[in-house]
């Protein structure tokens, strides 16, 4: 099994390298460069020259890529064109904030989703299932900005329970952060839960209809034990990988949700950066978020391997 873990790790590194190449290469393929994009109509003469000198854009592409990649590994993500400050400095706090927000969503969403998914699966085609599945579909189909807006309309404007827009600064202490992140976290949790619920439900239903569950019934195993010992482990284990994948969604959703609520995280920063055409900042944040995703995926795969004996055999 150790061999498999090493293989997965190498695979993860390859993926990250590839993404770095895509992120870098995408900009290279475009006409112009980071400076022309940022300066727009001002991209002439001395201004352009000094900008390009500052960013070292005269060097050939591969050199720049190598520099950037190696720098990233060491923790230096370059300099922001718009703010002129080193990027690492800029995103440190915001990374923390986004992690806080995402963690709250995951900690609430995942266990809730698993529980509801199992309940829905066990009650297939009955009223409870219709309600849960229907609710899940509804939640899944609304884009995050719509559900956020609805939440603000309902909870902030009508009911006045929470403030709609987050007003705290990016360096605020964690406790305040948690307080302001209730609505954004709820929005994230909603769609996260919906996705996972549907997957778990489908998995549970598939297992319930399997031959081995029928056999357990024919052995006289009581219902509760069938569910706990035969159904749940076999339906939840495959769900682990899916849960890992849903994190990708979460990291994307964070972008929109933070923008709606004005939450001081990486998501809002990257949106601002795109508006400002601050390409180095966009690249850096994208790379960072992708690395988090790859890391989470790697961990869930290893977890799945540890828990599921069938995945441990090395298959050529």
């Amino acid at each position: 099994m150790f061999r498999l873990i090493v293989q997965r790790f190498c695979s993860a590194c390859f993926t990250l390298a590839f993404i770095a190449a895509v992120v870098f290469g995408a900009v290279e393929l475009m006409p112009g460069n980071a400076c022309t994009a940022y300066l727009g109509r001002d991209a002439v003469g001395a201004k352009l020259e000094s900008c390009e000198a500052r960013l070292g854009l005269k060097r050939p592409a591969l050199v720049r890529f190598g520099d950037w990649a190696l720098g990233a590994l060491k923790g230096d993500l370059g300099v922001s064109v718009q703010r002129g400050k080193p990027i690492t400095e800029l995103i440190g706090w915001r990374l923390r904030n986004t992690i806080v927000l995402s963690s709250i969503a995951i900690l609430f969403g995942v266990p809730l989703a698993i529980l509801l998914g199992v309940v829905a699966g066990l009650n297939k085609d009955r009223k409870l299932d219709f309600a849960l599945s229907g609710g899940a579909i509804f939640a899944m189909t609304l884009p995050e900005f719509v559900s956020s807006t609805i939440f603000i309309l309902v909870f902030s404007v009508s009911l006045g329970w929470a403030s709609g827009i987050v007003t705290i600064g990016y360096k605020a202490p964690i406790l305040d952060l948690i307080g302001s992140s209730i609505l954004p976290a709820t929005t994230l949790t909603l769609v996260l839960t919906a996705h996972i619920l549907r997957m778990v439900r489908a998995s549970v239903i598939e297992v319930l209809e399997s031959d081995y569950v029928l056999m357990a019934r024919l052995k006289g195993v009581p219902y509760r034990r069938i569910i706990l010992r035969h159904v749940l482990p076999n339906s939840l284990l495959p769900a682990i990988s899916v849960i890992g994948l849903t994190v990708a969604w979460l990291l994307g959703g964070v972008v929109t949700v933070e923008s709606v609520y004005n939450y001081p995280g990486l998501g809002r920063m990257v949106v601002d950066a795109v508006s400002d055409r601050d390409i180095p900042l966009v690249q850096a944040i994208t790379l960072l978020i992708c690395s988090i995703y790859i890391l989470v995926n790697l961990l869930t795969d290893i977890l799945a391997m540890l828990l599921n004996p069938r995945l441990r055999t090395y298959r050529a």
Binding site: S11, F14, T15, L16, F18, I19, V22, V23, A26, V27, L29, M30, A37, I137, F138, M140, T141, L142, P143, E144, F145, V146, T149, I150, I152, L153, S156, V157, G164, H195, R198, M199, A202, V242, L245, A248, W249, L251, G252, V255, T256, S259, V260, V270, V271, A273, V274, S275, R277, I279, V282, Q283, I285, T286, I289, C290, Y293, I294, N297
Partner: protein
């Protein structure tokens, strides 16, 4: 008397004659009997009609600003009220889906075309080519979609001409997965092996043997991709990277309404209803279609 010999020609029992005629027609009929499917189809049709004929029925011009009627609540003159710039919300709501739907229709066609053919071909070819391409695809999927798009938007800028290829390429990626896994089910079957043994060319096998079998699954996927894309475009518009103003777009409208929601909720409510109804309608209709056609809707790549 002898036992009837196996030499007598076999005839089909009469009852089965005509059962296989026009299977498509019978399935459409079954789809329409499903109540939620019917409701969904009705909603989608309504939206499509409005998108096509909207400009003929709207009371005002979508860009017309009336400074004297800013942020008016719904009234007889303005059924849905007015927005911050004095524009009629009803007009903008009716027309709000046009740009998005146009972009999405073209982009969906592109996505299904390249994604479908590549996916099916990969399933057939297999081997190291399939391995490498799928690894690359996996790597690309590791980027949250919105970030992927934003990188390109930052470099390319926005606008319809930029959005269509960006959307077509990025959504095509998930179509590759779907088409490939749908085709993989059939690639191992003997009839494909038989075609190969006969010496049939690969492209013939893709189009004549595999495509007819994955057609149903892909048809449902086309609709799902289209609806996901509408969501995607709206999200981008909300963030400011989608349909450029002053074209009316639901995402833009909701974004504009953000600061003034407490004062003028109608500026947000109506576009929300419009967008949600379209998406829910599509989902209902195509969930029902998938059930009728027996296609699996749960796939990891479907959700964006």
């Amino acid at each position: 008397m002898t036992i009837r010999n196996a030499t007598d020609p076999q005839t089909l029992p009469g009852r089965q004659r005509g059962r296989s005629r026009k299977p498509g027609g019978r399935r459409l009929a079954r789809l329409l009997t499903n109540p939620s499917g019917l409701a969904g189809l009705a909603i989608v049709t309504l939206h499509l009609v409005l998108a096509c004929f909207g400009p003929l029925i709207v009371p005002y011009d979508f860009a017309f600003q009336d400074p004297s009627a800013v942020l008016q609540p719904p009234s007889l003159a303005h059924w849905f009220g007015t927005d911050l710039l004095g524009r009629d919300v009803l007009t903008r709501t009716i027309l709000g889906g046009r740009e998005a739907m146009l972009i999405c229709t073209i982009a969906t066609a592109i996505a299904m075309l390249w994604g479908g053919i590549l996916g099916i071909s990969l399933a057939l070819i297999g081997g190291w080519i399939d391995n490498i391409v799928m690894r690359i695809a996996d790597a690309l999927m590791a980027m949250p979609w919105i970030l992927f798009v934003m990188v390109f938007v930052a470099a390319l800028g926005t606008g319809t001409t930029a959005l269509v290829p960006i959307l077509g390429v990025s959504y095509g990626l998930s179509v590759v997965y779907l088409a490939r896994s749908a085709a993989l089910e059939f690639v191992t079957k003997d009839f494909v092996l038989a075609a190969q043994a006969r010496g049939q060319r690969r492209h013939t096998i893709v189009f004549k043997e595999l495509l007819p079998n994955v057609r149903d699954s892909l048809a449902v996927q086309t609709a799902m991709q289209w609806s996901w894309m509408i969501l995607g475009v709206s999200s981008l518009s909300y963030l400011g990277f989608g349909v450029p103003p002053p074209a009316p777009d639901w995402g833009l409208m909701i974004a504009d309404a953000r600061g003034i929601m407490s004062a003028a909720p109608w500026t947000a409510v109506f576009p929300i209803i419009a967008l949600s109804s379209l998406v829910i309608g599509t989902n209902l209709a195509f969930d029902a279609a998938a059930k009728t056609l027996g296609v699996d809707r749960n796939s990891r790549a479907a959700g964006r």
